[in-house]
């Protein structure tokens, strides 16, 4: 189910590219907006062929346990969470309760002490490169940018590091600049931008390669109304192609979104909000 407030108002350009050569495909990298379902079918097909259950989900966290120090309580205590295709899930809780830790484990940045994090049945241990192609993580804060690079160069760099086919890098970057309304800032250095503008760039980087699963940690930080609307549109686009979004923010934050599920982390486990 797609939340009502996340209806696509400006879907990604969807030219019929089936018969076009990739090199001349101006928007090729990002013009497969309707292909999510096909990918999902493909993943499920692969799952069946491997004898695994067809119920593999975009993101599954199973019995995650994490303790930072022996003298501290578990921050994640057998935490389970499954994101279904085309859904957005909110996880909240007090500061320091483990939201970011859960996201970092889900992103493949750090390991849980035990348990599994799977994206479409793939774990980071089994296939790190493939896992990282499927999932994208927006950390909280304002880090993760090269201060001396312009917006365009930053996006181009991350597109290449994401191993986007070289012929499609320029189109990928152009689409991100357009989608997140970064045109006026495209040739401005990051250290000359406001916090909200930087956050918009960070969000553009997160959605740059059309990930299957998007993990957002306090994404509204510093965003103005327009930035918030762009983020919502990007989220809607992920859901429309049957991806999944996990949105974490403190309990008190007001977010004008209709989530498919709402959870709180308490004592390392998820409880219904």
């Amino acid at each position: 189910m797609t939340p009502r407030s996340l209806e696509l108002t400006d879907p990604a350009p969807q030219r019929d590219t089936a018969n076009e050569p990739a090199a001349s495909d101006a928007g090729g990298a990002l013009e497969h907006a309707a292909s999510g379902a096909a990918r999902q079918d493909s993943a499920r097909g692969a799952a069946l062929q491997d004898g695994a259950p067809a119920a593999a989900a975009p993101l599954t966290l199973r019995a995650l346990r994490k303790r930072w120090r022996k003298d501290l309580p578990l921050v994640l205590d057998d935490l389970d969470l499954t994101l279904e295709p085309g859904t957005i899930t909110w996880v909240g809780g007090r500061n320091g309760v483990g939201k970011t830790t859960m996201l970092r484990v889900a992103a493949g940045l750090i390991d849980a002490d035990s348990g599994r994090a799977e994206v479409w049945g793939v774990t980071a241990r089994e296939s790190r490169a493939r896992y990282q192609q499927l999932v994208s993580f927006l950390p909280a804060g304002d880090r993760g940018l090269y201060a001396r690079l312009t917006v365009r160069r930053q996006l181009k760099f991350w597109a290449r590091i994401a191993m986007v086919a070289p012929a499609r890098v320029d189109a990928t970057v152009a689409h991100a600049i357009e989608t997140f309304d970064l045109g006026e800032l495209a040739d401005r250095r990051v250290d000359r931008m406001s916090m909200g503008q930087r956050q918009r760039l960070r969000i553009a980087m997160t959605f740059l390669t059309r990930p299957e699963v998007v993990l957002l940690d306090e994404p509204m930080t510093s965003l103005d109304e327009e930035g918030g609307a762009l983020l919502q549109a990007a989220v809607a686009e992920v859901l429309a192609r049957d991806g999944a979004v996990l949105w974490c923010s403190p309990s008190g934050e007001h977010v004008e979104l209709e989530f498919n599920a709402r959870w709180l982390i308490e004592r390392g486990r998820l409880v219904a909000a």
Binding site: A22, A23, G28, L30, H32, S35, R39, S42, A43, A46, A47, D50, A52, A56, R104, L109, I110, D111, E118, W120, G121, V122, E126, S127, R128, A129, R130, Q132, Q133, L134, S136, P139, G141, R143, G144, L145, Y146, A147, R148, L149, R153, K156, F157, W158, R160, I161, A162, M163, V164, A165, P166, A167, R168, V169, T172, R189, T209, R210, P211, E212
Partner: protein, 286 residues
């Protein structure tokens, strides 16, 4: 339960004309291009570094006029000896700048992003070495050029072209030291502290400013345990026709051996440091 292998998003799958290797090659070049863009964004940096090189060779030009010792037929021969040493120091510094670059990535939070990219942190760190090494290569050439132009250094032109592949081999032998310190930086977050000691030590036992034969016997033994001594000897021979204490072939074999053994070891150490940081959760610290 057996793993389900999902397909990558279509736009991330290599098309018929693009292999993963080509995309990886582009990613390597992207890191180098990024470092070049950051470098040129500081407009006075290259001027400052050229002035530093000029002051160094000027200093040693006048010091060389005081040198009248066995092994150097003239002050000019010591000047040639030390200028090659200065050029190599810039290359050595570039190798040992890698841990500091990694630390900057950790502080900026960009290391996390590299780690979470399909290109990966290990390849990214290796790619980070490209620009500093190429830049140090250019600075070494400029240092030699300035010494020729300002103080009449005479290069041995018939063998100078061979110094390019020899320098490349030396870089491969030096690189593992930078990667090992990068692994240390990922682990203890302050690898740059040790690098200054190591650079000072290598400057002494590597024969960069004076012949190794002047050192005590035990220190001469230490000189044989690292690749900087054979590298300086080879390059001095090729650039300014300095006499060699061992054959050129033997020195080159030592460089190849250092590179062949230490490169895999250093890459393994880096990958273990990153994995350990992920397991312990310290990879996010800086």
């Amino acid at each position: 339960m057996s793993a389900t292998i999902a397909t990558a998003p279509e736009h991330l799958q290599p098309d018929s004309r693009t292999s993963g290797a080509i995309a990886a090659g582009h990613a390597f070049l992207a890191v180098m291009r990024r470092d070049l863009q950051v470098f040129v964004s500081y407009r006075t940096r290259i001027v400052s570094q050229l002035l530093t090189a000029m002051f160094s060779i000027t200093l040693f030009y006048y010091v060389s006029k005081l040198v009248h010792v066995d092994g150097f037929g003239s002050s000019q021969s010591y000047f040639g000896f030390v200028v090659v040493g200065i050029a190599l120091v810039s290359i050595m510094y570039s190798c040992f700048s890698i841990p500091e670059l990694v630390r900057q990535e950790l502080i900026a939070g960009t290391f996390d992003r590299l780690l979470l990219s399909p290109f990966g942190a290990i390849r990214s760190v290796i790619a980070m070495t490209l620009f500093p090494l190429l830049y140090s290569f250019v600075m070494a050439a400029l240092t030699l050029g300035l010494a020729c132009a300002l103080y009449g250094l005479r290069l041995h032109w018939s063998t100078v072209p061979w110094s390019v592949p020899a320098m490349a081999l030396a870089l491969l032998a030096f690189l593992p030291f930078g990667l090992l310190f990068a692994a240390l930086t990922v682990t203890i977050k302050q690898g740059a502290i040790g690098t200054s000691w190591v650079i000072a030590l290598i400057s002494i036992v590597g024969g960069l400013y004076f012949p190794v034969s002047l050192l005590p016997h035990w220190a001469q033994t230490a000189a044989k345990l690292q690749p900087f001594t054979p590298a300086t000897e080879v390059l001095r021979h090729l650039l300014v026709n300095s006499p060699q204490t061992t054959s050129l072939g033997a020195a080159l074999i030592r460089l190849v051996a250092f590179a062949a053994v230490l490169l895999p070891v250093s890459v393994f150490a880096l990958s273990r440091a990153i994995r350990m940081g992920q397991r312990r959760g310290t990879i996010i610290e800086y």
